[in-house]
Symmetry: C2
Subunit: 201 residues, 2 copies
DNA sequence: CGACAAATGTTAGTTCCTAACATTCAGGAT
DNA sequence: ATCCTGAATGTTAGGAACTAACATTTGTCG
C-alpha cells in the first residue's frame, strides 16, 4: 500500500508519453496540495486545476481521490516469502517471518517518498481505513498460500489479517517518526507477533 | 463494532419516546432495505422514505449512512480483560487472552441480530474498511493499557492492532457461516495468535 | 495532408453530507 | 383547554466525490 510496494513488476503495457506526463503532474500537484492543506482540505477540483487539467481527467488517471495515494499493485513478494517458510511452523509464525524477510531488505533510499504518502494517509481516518481495504488482495493471497500448504481456512485468514494490520501499524508509526531505516522498523515491529522465538528466529 | 458491543453501558440521558421511535423505524427500514438491496444499492433517501421521514432526519439520528450500521460505543470490557492478564506475558499474548476471555462469555441469544449487521458490512468493501476505523478507539485504549503496564509503545500498538484485525476477520467469517456460537468462533480464531500455549492456555 | 485513435473536455446527473432557517409537535404552567 | 417553550422535524440550498454520454482536441502514421 501507499507506494510501499516492494516488488518491481509494475507496468504492463507502457502508456503514451503524454499520459505519463499528465499523470505525473496530477500526482505532484496532489502530493503538494495534500501536504500543505491536508487530504480532506484538498478537493479533486483543486488538484486537477493545479495540474492544468479537468476533474474528469483526474478520474481517468486515478479511479478515485483515495486511489491516487493508496494505489499499489498486488505485491507477490510477501506471498512468496511466506511460502518459503517451513510448513511445519504455525501459520501465524510463517506469515510473520515471511513478511518480515520480504521487508527487511528494502533499501533505505526508497523510504523517503514512501514516508510522505504514509504520513498523509495516517492523517485522515478515512484514508487509514482504506489502507486496510487496499491490503486485502495481499492478505487473501497469503491466506490462500497457507491453505494450499494445509492450514485451516480460519487460521489462515486470521493470521494473515493480523500480520497485515501489524505491518500497517508499524508503517504508520515509522512514518510519524524520523527513523530512516524502514526495514528495521518493520522487522522490529513484527517481532512482537513472533513470540515463539527471539528476534530473527 | 456492528452492534457487537459486549458492554451494556449504552445510553446516557434517555431520549424522548418520540426520538426513540423514529430511530427504531429508521433502523428497521435500513436493515430491511440493506439486506434486500444491499448496502451500496440502498440510498439514504430510500431509507428515510421507508421510515416516513426526511433525509435530514436520518442524518440527525445517525451521523452518516455508515454510522447506522457500525455505530457502537467504546467497549471497556476488552481493555479491562487485557489489563487483568499477567503483566509478565508478552504484549501480544496478553491482548489475545484478554480479548478472548472478554468474548467467550457472549450469550448465544445475542448473536442473531449481530450476524445480520456483520453480514451486511462484510458485503461492502467500503464498510469493511470502516469497521477498522471503528475499532480504533478500543485499539488505542488497549495499547494505552499495555503501555501503562510497562510495554514498549510500538509493541503495544502492533499487538493491539493485530488482535483487533484478527477479531474482525473472525467475526466476518462467523457471520458468513451458520455456526450459532459466536464466542466459540472467536475463541478458536484467536488461538491462532497465541502460539505459546495450546488453546485456552 | 488526412484519417484514425487516444487523450481530454463538456455537461448533466446521482449520492452522501452540511448549514441555515422555518415549521410542527409534545408537555408543562396558567 | 390555552398558551408557551423547547425539542423534533421539515425545507431549501449547496459542496464534494463520483459517473455516464457525448463532443472535442491532439498526436501519430500512412
Amino acid at each position: 500500500m501507499l507506494g510501499t510496494n516492494i516488488c518491481r513488476v509494475t507496468a504492463s503495457a507502457q502508456p503514451s508519453a503524454r499520459t505519463a506526463r499528465t499523470r505525473e503532474r496530477l500526482l505532484a500537484a496532489a502530493l503538494d496540495l495534500f501536504s500543505r492543506n491536508g487530504y480532506d482540505g484538498t478537493t479533486v477540483a483543486q488538484v486537477a486545476a493545479a495540474a492544468g487539467v479537468t476533474e474528469m481527467t483526474f478520474y481517468r488517471h486515478f479511479g478515485s481521490k483515495e486511489a491516487l495515494l493508496l494505489e499499489d499493485p498486488y505485491d507477490p513478494l510477501m506471498v512468496a516469502a511466506v511460502g518459503r517458510q517451513p510448513v511445519a511452523l504455525p501459520p501465524i509464525v510463517r506469515v510473520v517471518r515471511g513478511v518480515r524477510t520480504a521487508w527487511e531488505q528494502v533499501p533505505i533510499e526508497d523510504a523517503a517518498p514512501v514516508r510522505e504518502r504514509v504520513r498523509i494517509a495516517g492523517g485522515s481516518p478515512a484514508l487509514r481505513a482504506s489502507m486496510h481495504a487496499n491490503t486485502r488482495r495481499s492478505q487473501e493471497a497469503i491466506a490462500r498460500q497457507l491453505v494450499d500448504d494445509g492450514a485451516d481456512a480460519v487460521a489462515a485468514a486470521v493470521a494473515s489479517s493480523a500480520v497485515m494490520a501489524a505491518l500497517m501499524t508499524a508503517l504508520l508509526l515509522w512514518a510519524q517518526g524520523e527513523d530512516a531505516d524502514l526495514g528495521a522498523a518493520i522487522t522490529g515491529a513484527l517481532d512482537v507477533l513472533d513470540v515463539g522465538a527471539g528476534p530473527k528466529g
